[in-house]
């Protein structure tokens, strides 16, 4: 990975509210717009107060290389995301990015199955774009608690990808988890070896994805969320446990440097 990361104050160009607790904003930053790869993230700091002290990590969701902006999309969780929701065009945000190792394109990939759980969908647009440009077929599966939290389905439909939706309350798409339609689809695959799962979502969702790769034999990658002290390898706080580490191998990997995208078989998702 060549080190393209920068630290920069980015003006907010546009601010959007997509659901009761879901917002997105465009940040002006030609460098990150240009260099970010699918699955990478930026680490944001709003304001100069000590609380919250640490930066907050967000996937690079969309970008326009020509116009020189990128977009982040977030769900309001606590103090940091609440402060972000008060931002307006003209305000400024401190950004470090792009960070992390993104999704990796396996050799012989024919069908990319993108699976987003909740706000995890924010990690997928760049990936969809890249694959479609490379002539790889893309199918998108999105699950959320309810319609209000189901973001970007219109975006993916517009790309021409096939899109399957599920909400737990049934307000949009199938009622229930997205795992059911996904499993159905995978069972019907003609060439499982040329198919790959790319997923991002909450903890329980990722556990289900790992299980699905095991049960179906379809390989996959997961983008995980951990607490991050820095986002670029100096705090060593974002350790995740490796699965079956050999005695001579690392016992932990760093979510910010070695991830946030891992092979579904690579790490342990415990509580």
């Amino acid at each position: 990975m060549n080190d393209t990361k920068i630290i920069v104050d980015c003006p907010v160009l546009a601010f959007d509210t997509l659901g009761a607790e879901i917002h997105s904003m465009r940040l002006h930053c030609p460098e990150i717009a240009k260099s970010a790869r699918p699955g990478q993230f930026v680490n944001l700091k709003v304001g100069t107060e000590f609380a919250p002290m640490l930066r907050r990590p967000f996937s690079v969701c969309r970008r326009d290389r020509l116009e020189g902006w990128f977009e982040v999309m977030w769900k309001v969780i606590g103090q940091g995301t609440r402060a972000m929701s008060r931002l307006r065009p003209g305000d400024s945000v401190s950004v470090i990015g792009p960070l992390g190792r993104g999704y990796i394109q396996p050799a012989d990939l024919k069908l990319a199955v993108l699976v987003g759980g909740g706000i995890g969908v924010a990690a997928l647009p760049l990936l969809c774009e890249d694959f479609q440009q490379a002539g790889i077929e893309v199918e998108v599966f999105l699950g959320a608690r309810n319609g209000d939290e189901l973001a970007l389905s219109g975006y993916f439909k517009d790309t021409g990808a096939s899109v399957v939706l599920a909400t737990e309350d049934g307000s949009i798409g199938t009622r229930g988890l997205i795992t059911a339609p996904l499993l159905e689809r995978l069972a019907a695959l003609t060439k499982p070896a040329n198919t790959h799962l790319f997923s991002c979502g909450p903890h329980g969702f990722l556990k289900a994805m790992v299980q699905i790769t095991e049960e179906t034999g379809v390989a996959g990658q997961i983008a995980i969320e951990t607490m991050m002290g820095c986002g670029f390898g100096i705090c060593v706080g974002c350790a995740v446990r490796c699965r079956n580490p050999r005695p001579d191998k690392k016992k932990y990997k760093l979510a910010c440097l070695d991830g946030p995208v891992f092979d579904a078989q690579e790490i342990v998702l415990d509580d």
Binding site: D3, T4, K5, I6, I7, K45, F50, A51, P52, M53, L54, R55, S94, I96, T226, M227, G229, C230, F232, G233, I234, C235, V236, G237, C238, A239, V240, R241, K250, K251, Y252
Partner: protein, 309 residues
């Protein structure tokens, strides 16, 4: 023109702003984000004889004005440090201080002897104070006798100035600092983290795997300043101040209280250019106050209040 340079025993720094061990990796990680040569010096992540995996996650947790960490001295180990990390660090135009940790005096000895042969290192900082390893760690600098013994041993072996890093989790930090001074330390650096705990009230488990952890950041600054004050009053040895330093004003508080240099820690996670900004801020402050030398006119210039009548 203000003279920012300071002397810490035999060690000269072009300015008093260092980055603290474990909060700046091995320099290379922040290379793209700040001008490393603006710093007075870089202190490496603690190096141990063998590589260490570190502690299981969760390792960090955020607090209202700081954070908890229990990294467990995860590091690449001495061999990989020399092979993979030192070459880059040597290319940076600043003073390099290697922080050494170990769970026994023998481990400290082995690391010092090996590093003595490596060029490009200006001094060693001995981490006698990590709260996050079961063996040794905190124990060393919670005891004046042990601190004195291990310092004396290191003094005999070391070709380079020694900075002994102290824990604040003691009744009398000046007693420990005195033991280090009497045994040949060139300086003491303080403070390492405070022992802290946070609890998840839903799962009723600690927020950090290991249970208690190290508390760092702005919330520990008042404690760190009080410890620097105590040592400055009672022991005649250069002090490097550490604890919650996030901006020029914080750095000034430490220098005025009696620290000859300072280390920026947790603030690097938020902005790795904090040290660089502080150097610029010190210049401005000194010009505004017409100070010509940090060492002679600023360090230890604290004046106490006088009772009226």
């Amino acid at each position: 023109m203000t003279n920012l340079s300071v002397k810490i025993g035999a060690l000269s720094l072009k300015n008093p702003v260092l980055v603290a061990s474990g909060t700046f990796g091995y320099g290379q990680e922040s290379h793209a984000l700040t001008n490393l040569s603006a710093l007075g010096g870089i202190i490496t992540k603690s190096v141990t004889l063998k590589p260490r995996h570190g502690n299981p996650p969760p390792r960090i947790f955020e607090l209202p004005a700081g954070m908890l960490n229990s990294i467990g001295l995860a590091n690449v180990g001495l061999d990989a440090f020399i092979r993979d990390k030192l070459p880059f660090l040597r290319t940076v135009d600043t003073t390099l201080i290697v922080n050494i940790a170990g769970s026994s005096p023998e481990e400290f000895a082995a690391v010092i002897e090996r590093l003595n042969d490596e060029p490009g290192i200006a001094a060693y900082e001995l981490n006698f104070s990590c709260p996050n390893v079961k063996e040794g760690g905190l124990g060393f600098s919670q005891n004046a006798g042990v601190t004195g013994d291990v310092t004396a041993m290191a003094r005999k072996l070391s070709k380079r100035p020694l900075i002994v890093k102290l824990t604040p989790n003691v009744t009398s930090i000046s007693d420990i600092a005195r033991a280090a001074a009497d045994s040949g330390a060139d300086a003491v650096s303080l403070i390492n983290t405070l022992v802290g705990l946070a609890v998840n009230v839903e799962s009723r488990r600690p927020q950090i795997f290991a249970g208690t952890a190290g508390y760092s950041g702005p919330g520990i600054k008042p404690v760190a300043l009080a410890k620097v004050f105590e040592v400055a009053q009672k022991v005649d040895i250069p002090i490097i101040g550490i604890g919650g330093i996030s901006n020029t004003q914080d750095a000034l508080e430490f220098l005025i209280t009696g620290a000859t240099a300072i280390e920026v820690g947790t603030a690097n996670f938020v902005d790795p250019a904090t040290g660089e900004s502080i150097v610029a801020g010190l210049v401005q402050y000194c010009q505004r106050h017409n100070l010509h030398s940090v060492q002679e006119e600023l360090v230890g210039s604290l004046a106490m209040w006088q009772e009226l009548e």
